[in-house]
């Protein structure tokens, strides 16, 4: 059983399109995150949700909109995709009270052409 799963693993799309990446965790964690890892391999936090509520929203264009239908899911919707959005996007989860060990998904490699 995969603890944190993201779909799709690869996503190739044209500029201007809208796409979504889904994330689910079966660990019972109350906090979920989205990270972006660019070509230089910097891993930057984008969003953090705790019990379906947005906690952290780093400097991210408003074309990126996270949605958390329940605390086991945190989906990422991206509007009007741009070339610079090409990166690997990681979803993660952790317990806020149980320490800060976070579990990451396998990543979604987004390529905008």
């Amino acid at each position: 059983d995969t603890a944190v799963s993201q779909t799709p693993k690869y996503l190739v799309t044209q500029m201007g399109n809208d796409k979504s990446i889904k994330c689910e965790q079966n660990l019972g964690h109350d906090t979920m995150y989205w990270y972006k890892q660019d070509s230089k391999k910097f891993l930057k936090i984008m969003f953090s949700y705790n019990n379906k509520e947005l906690i952290i929203n780093e400097t991210v264009p408003n074309r990126f909109s996270p949605k958390s239908p329940d605390k086991a899911h945190l989906n990422l919707h991206i509007n009007s995709l741009e070339l610079g959005d090409s990166a690997v996007y990681f979803c993660a989860s952790s317990n806020m009270d149980g320490g800060t060990e976070a579990f990451f998904g396998q990543g979604t490699r987004l390529t905008v052409v």
Partner: protein, 110 residues
């Protein structure tokens, strides 16, 4: 949360012990030091966490001096499969965020 500084890269031969040092001068009283490992094309994976002195698990040891302004991740007898990027983070329970620095790219040479 305190910023961390660690070497950009390190090389080591197989079978050697590798020590990666991280500095976190502005660490707060309720902060922990946490290390993650990331293999190519995978998400980061938790390795070890500590508050002070020494912590050891099946993967690594973490040494933290009394002033807690630095920490050292020790990997015993590395193998080729330990080639990865190692991230040092200052973390805080309840902070809802994990900030990753540049990490240390460890290359193990046969």
């Amino acid at each position: 949360l305190a910023k961390t500084t660690q070497p950009i890269s390190m090389d080591s031969y197989e079978g050697q012990e590798v020590n990666i040092t991280c500095s976190h001068n502005n660490i707060a009283t309720n902060d922990y030091i946490t290390w993650y490992q990331q293999f190519p094309s995978q998400g980061p994976r938790f390795i070890i966490q500590g508050y002070k002195t020494k912590v050891t698990n099946e993967v690594a040891s973490l040494f933290i001096p009394a002033d807690r302004k630095s920490s050292t991740l020790s990997l015993p007898r590395v193998s080729l499969s330990d080639t990865a990027v190692y991230y040092c983070l200052v973390t805080r329970t309840g902070a809802n965020n994990l900030f990753f620095g540049t990490g240390t790219r460890l290359t193990v040479i046969p």
